[in-house]
Amino acid sequence: MRRPYQPHTQKTTMDTISISLNVNGIQYKKEVEPRLLLSDFLRHELDLTGTHVGCEHGVCGACTVIMDGAAVRSCLIFAAQADGCELITVEGLAQGDTLHPLQEAFREAHGLQCGYCTPGFLMTLIPFLKENSNPSEEQIREALSGNVCRCTGYQNIVKAAMLGAERMK
């Protein structure tokens, strides 16, 4: 597997912290520098590059992952804080070659163009749709208010979310 450029994960003189966490059903034990962001940990330490990094200050939502059942920004959490947590990233959605119903819905309803923001949208929607199986368009727009997409204009993302809600029932 290709390893991405990773200047900030080079070990420095800082003390490292031992963490143990579950990501997509797999248990990991790793040594991390305290300042390593969870987003960078997932991408560079675990090679789970499906979690995308956009703004790195909590505005764009691209790095959203599910941590202990709740959608959170992985760029605003240190990897050290995920010790003992259960995480789901976009890689945890499909079963082998079978896409998750929400991913299918995004494909069918053209809910993505360049796809950069899509993992964040999916990971935001999964806990939301589990709690709201019959969401209104307005509720979906509110749930997605913290995710930025620069291609679609959001219309088809909302349609995909509606379709996904039906499929996930």
């Binding site: 305290p34 050290a80 804080q81």
Partner: protein, 288 residues
């Protein structure tokens, strides 16, 4: 966009956290939900040498009912506050305001105490604390003290907390009988920091005259701003639409211009939002 190195501590209980804070005080920063501090560290605006992470301290996350109001632990997530039936019942202004804070992902992680102690004048929670006359419990290794919301917010991102003190609990008193409340804000997009916002509580006496009013603005100056003008105009009088209009057209608001809005526009917003929240609070006070 990566934070500078720091030494990380994750104490398991409050005593341990207070001891660490006592030991490191001004070199250390307390990490609550991290939804303001971590972006500041990513930008390297904040470069604390030591970080004391409170997220493992379960004893600081609770919402309890007391005889005269609510007690909320500082590490209670904003999402929990938003969804709690006790908060909806006993502190409806807080309940109505929390959904205006950023986005669901931020509220899943952000805490009530973190936002209050961060003291951003454009944030909703400090404004609500001031509007509701909340009392804030600060603890250090030396002991504890209660701080009134009115003396807690002392400047831009600055509170009355000493370097060795930590905010641990927020007490929100019940509103008196015949009280109403309201919150409104204007932001470019839902969840963005507001260009202007206003919160109000209004209490009537038995004859229907205004007994007490608190009108607080956010995003105006260095702290949330309690309008003394509104109480001068309204207290002792029946809040007619004309009187509410003049109470909201206050002179003690001097917002500054920035790239998002001019001073003139923000002053206009303050007048409009002030009128709206006072009107709604009055309507609700008449019903309750």
């Amino acid at each position: 966009m990566k934070p500078p190195p720091f030494v990380y501590h994750a104490p398991k209980n409050l005593d341990e956290a207070l001891s660490l804070l006592n030991q490191h005080s001004s070199d250390a920063k307390v990490l609550a939900g991290g939804q303001s501090l971590v972006p500041m560290m990513n930008f390297r605006v904040a470069q604390p040498a030591i970080l004391i992470d409170l997220n493992k301290i379960k004893e600081l996350a609770y919402i309890k009912e007391g005889s005269d109001g609510l007690r909320i632990g500082a590490m209670t997530r904003q999402r929990s506050v938003e969804r709690d039936a006790k908060v909806a019942n006993r502190a409806p202004l807080l309940h109505e305001t929390v959904p205006h804070i950023a986005h669901p992902q931020i509220r899943n992680r952000g805490t009530i105490g973190g936002s209050v102690a961060h003291a951003d004048p454009a944030a909703e929670l400090p404004t609500i604390m001031l509007t509701l006359n909340a009392k804030l419990l600060a603890k250090s290794q030396k002991g504890e003290r209660w701080i009134e919301a009115e003396s807690f917010f002392v400047g831009l991102f600055t509170t009355a907390l000493e370097p060795d003190e930590m905010l641990v609990e927020i007490r929100i008193p019940d509103l008196p009988a015949r009280s109403g409340y309201a919150f409104e804000e204007v932001a470019r997009r839902h969840g963005d920091y507001a260009m202007m916002g206003a919160a109000a509580t209004l209490t009537l006496d038995e004859s229907g005259k205004c007994k007490d009013v608190r009108l607080v603005f956010l995003s105006v100056g260095e702290t949330p701003l309690l309008s003394s003008f509104a109480s001068k105009v309204l207290v002792g009088n029946k809040p007619t639409p004309e009187l509410i209009q003049s109470a909201a057209a206050n002179t003690d608001i001097v917002p500054s211009s920035n790239i998002h809005a001019s001073e003139r526009y923000r002053k206009h917003l303050a007048n409009v939002l002030g009128r709206r929240v006072l009107t709604k609070a009055y309507e609700r006070a008449q019903q309750g």
